[in-house]
Symmetry: C2
Subunit: 473 residues, 2 copies
Amino acid sequence: MNVSTHLLRCTGCGQRINPGEAQSNFRCRVCSDLFEVEYPWSEGAEGPAQEPYSASRPVPRNRPNPGALKYLWQERRTSTLSIDQSGVWRFRDLLPIVTEDRVVTLREGNTPLYEMPRAAESLGMNWLLAKHQGMNPTGSFKDTGMTAALSVAVAAGFEWVACASTGNTSAAMAAYAARAGLRSLVLIPEGKIAWGKLSQAMDYGSTTVQLRTDFDGCVRVLAKIVERAPVYLLNSVNPYRLEGQKTPAFEMLEQLEWQVPHHLIVPGGNLANVSALGKGFAEMKQLGFIRRVPKMSVIQAEGANPLYRWLQNGGHGQLEPVVADTRASAIRIGNPASWKKAARVIASTGGWCEQVNEREIALSKAEIGAEGIGCEPASAVTLAGLKKLAADGRVGREETAVLLLTGHTLKDFEYTIQYHRGELLTEAEMAGASKAELARHAALRCEPLVLDAKADAVLSVLDKMTARPVQTA
Amino acid sequence: MNVSTHLLRCTGCGQRINPGEAQSNFRCRVCSDLFEVEYPWSEGAEGPAQEPYSASRPVPRNRPNPGALKYLWQERRTSTLSIDQSGVWRFRDLLPIVTEDRVVTLREGNTPLYEMPRAAESLGMNWLLAKHQGMNPTGSFKDTGMTAALSVAVAAGFEWVACASTGNTSAAMAAYAARAGLRSLVLIPEGKIAWGKLSQAMDYGSTTVQLRTDFDGCVRVLAKIVERAPVYLLNSVNPYRLEGQKTPAFEMLEQLEWQVPHHLIVPGGNLANVSALGKGFAEMKQLGFIRRVPKMSVIQAEGANPLYRWLQNGGHGQLEPVVADTRASAIRIGNPASWKKAARVIASTGGWCEQVNEREIALSKAEIGAEGIGCEPASAVTLAGLKKLAADGRVGREETAVLLLTGHTLKDFEYTIQYHRGELLTEAEMAGASKAELARHAALRCEPLVLDAKADAVLSVLDKMTARPVQTA
């Protein structure tokens, strides 16, 4: 196992351990909090960096050099090696060291940073961008984390990997496990199978087991399994997933030619993603790549808003879980594992936490779609949240904002169909809409028309939709 | 309209016209056959290249220089311009000239070329690769064509674009039209809506119209519409779509460091894709980038095999349409528009046309999935066909083959679920399977198990699946 040039540092009590000493559940033995990966060059790592990381491998004392790395990362784009073609491993100088030819990659990352001219205009902003992590191989941002964690699992000699999930996590885990030639186990509560979401795990050959219990019961059984057997845990507590998930911060800066955006807006579910991106930007600043970090804001759905509530109540004590209820299934999480890390990122960067309702999410998804960009509903909370941040001046008109889109539109096609057929939102949900909002919904909704098979009939429809009549041209 | 440094050449009678003279249905006025784009440097273009292409713009006489272009195309990979980040427009030196800042792009192309080690091993081949065009923004290879054709539509000043399709074409057209700020029209037969497939067109804001007719009726109405109104036709007869779709040939060669694979295996539906790739490889050879082209083979589903039948019957006369019936919906086409072009590509490169049945398609899809690569069923015909080509020695063990995967697994998740639950294939379809084939199906199928919420119960399942018992470790 070549991942010896880093330590795991408990984000609760600060205790540092060698990677091999981590418990199978990736919780601190002292305080049960989560770990993060610490490098010899990490902020505050001076102390431990002077201790031997491993007997056989001396610690590289050299601090990473931003100028050299910027050049190297750019040059790797022209390489035909799979490790260079990966948008995660291209940045491997700031990742746990893995034997290069054993990296498990599906050429993740390298995702587009789209301009959103129409959304920017309607917000009165000069420049709005969307970093689309749903363009990863399995259709979600989870791939960037799984390539890292699976590579560590392979290096450590595991034959089985496992998670409790029915959604994007299981799809990503299954794909990377298959790529690595490992077996993967997905635990799900009996009878609550969303077959669509599970189809990818099945496609990639995962062993899926329905347990006669609820989701928390699955998590408990999984904890026992990884304790008793050599099965590698790939739930979001795994700190190596976050190392992969921090790399879009690097890539985004590269795409912006190292100009730091003022705001990054991230959907908030389990809150590991904003934690990872926060770590990525913090590392860029600490190493001297950039002089400031973006303000990082988290947007939650009203029905799954435990972090928003905690912050509204002053941000003291423990987070109170909620019973999560939102159609944005990827952030339907009532008890987020990474809430403390996320709260720290928001506070340290000067961002905010907002909540948005189902009507606002649906409208924003349609607006993103109208830019030619498809995303899953959870991604659309970013635009919905930005509207609120812009409305009360927290995001300025002259500032640059990047929306972090997390999943592909194909991940939840039923939501799209229901919205456009007018079957998604209830009357109660629509009741609070303003006139302007209702008009926006009406302009964006496009239920199929039924017409006679005559060109005239179709052309008269087009005429009505177009300022300049189509037929007269 | 800056697309004046090319002509359109009829692939039937050879007649050449200026782009602006094309009929709205992109059929030759003389013989009704399809056009292809011809450049001053195209093979056989010496004659017309000496005529003025346009009064205001002299024809560049310089033949493209392979060495310079290889370097330029590689360097563009390091650029942050969207036109350079596109895996289609990075090759714009061999595409119709469009004003660079008006290119309509979603950063298509740059798709992975995956090694398929397990499939190669089971075929006894040294090296098998898969070029995954399903990793494009809307999840299918159609994006590479739509970025080209939509850019031409914008340059020509169209406000509406249209196609008759319920599948990948409509999704790609809708996304690129939205990106360009154009309106798009999708015609579909009434009552035969596959909502899942249409969800993307709706998401991207397309106007979808169900006509009270069948699919051919939709095509006829569309032909009248584009004749009478300034609506740009984006069905596969549009020659600019093929210009975009030829670029994966360039990209593949680049990824292979200009080593030409021996075989390229392409799914055969409407047959525009193999035609485009054939043009791409032919241009590479003609310009001196490579010395030979791969043998290009087309694989059709047994239930949608008009080209296979035509070739089996000697390849004379007109192609006889079939009533298409296959679960691989993306190639469920009985009367392919580009059959002549495709037949020429197969003949000129020395490839073959094969057919595969539903059982073979399903097994191959599961095998591709087991490599961690998800694809839609139509893509899997490539592996199924390769097995036949390898079995009778047409593809040798020492030769390199590339499978062209056309769509993402999320495009048809229901197929995946039905297969793994044992609900896809009928008894009749399974009846012809060999013992070995049945064993492969059994090994790959993974229907969810139902267990009590106990670690023991799960671990004993893992033990049975693993050579080295999990619990004893």
